[in-house]
Chain length 132, copies 2
DNA sequence: GGGGTGAGTTGCCATTTGGCGAAAAATATG
DNA sequence: CATATTTTTCGCCAAATGGCAACTCACCCC
């Protein structure tokens, strides 16, 4: 978790120099103070997300790109491949959560209502079957 | 700009509740102290990128997704373009989340299946009615 | 030589972050 | 109802962030 990932600071400075911006100009464009920028470039400070975000456009970066460079994002976001093993227990599946969250709350509640009806139905049917 | 973009904090809390994790458990999984997590959820603290990143996987988020929700990234960077806005718009009712989380994952998924069937049914019925 | 002028750096400080441990509030058990 | 036990919140503190103003270091012109 160290700075060996080809150093955001270096990249920032290089990009700034390439666009032939001074610290002051970049400060003006980005709304981040020049002194802070300077310290970031020589890694005396580590920019928060807020700052990083303000720097992206003035330097011609995509925001995600910068975040990735900063190590905030993993280099390969890939996709939702590896999520199951941890959550098998009695947790709400993220996919399910996402789907349901798209519905209005009353629909969500109705779904729970239907579920409990089905469960009690299943319960009584099992009871009948057992009784026979 | 405004922190009111549907409140990361709320989303974090809801997602945690959805997965029926306690602050302590999430703390353990994410390596962020429980007290800090608590304060983030009730927006007394605003998580840095580092913290946000640690929270993503334990909560079943894609990192970019979380960053987008936090307002660090612009709303539609690329990949997660379609699910984020919906997710941002509506939220999963905590009661519903609790109820569903008690069921095994396949039951949860079945519930979603039933819901989508009902929705498509309702859709086609509305279509027929309109046509007449 | 003595002054500007523009760039980067440093000193200082208010504010925020984030962790640890204790208090308080909920929940579970008797 | 009391009382363990878990879960959340609070108090406090060290460390980090980020801005302002002052400083240094060139370079240029007179």
């Amino acid at each position: 978790m160290n700075s060996s990932r080809s150093d955001l600071s270096e990249i920032l400075r290089q990009q700034r120099v390439m666009m032939s911006l001074t610290l002051g100009e970049l400060a003006e464009k980005s709304g981040v103070s020049a002194s802070h920028l300077g310290r970031i470039e020589r890694r005396e400070r580590f920019p928060s997300g807020r700052i990083l975000r303000r720097l992206a456009k003035p330097l011609g970066f995509e925001e995600n790109e910068l975040f990735a460079l900063a190590g905030y994002l993993s280099p390969t976001p890939s996709s939702v491949a590896e999520e199951s093993p941890a959550y098998v227990g009695r947790r709400l599946d993220p996919y399910v959560a996402r789907m349901l969250a798209q519905e209005p709350v009353d629909v969500q509640r109705a779904v729970i209502g239907i579920l409990s009806i089905l469960k009690s139905l299943a319960g009584s049917m099992a009871g009948e079957r057992d009784r026979q």
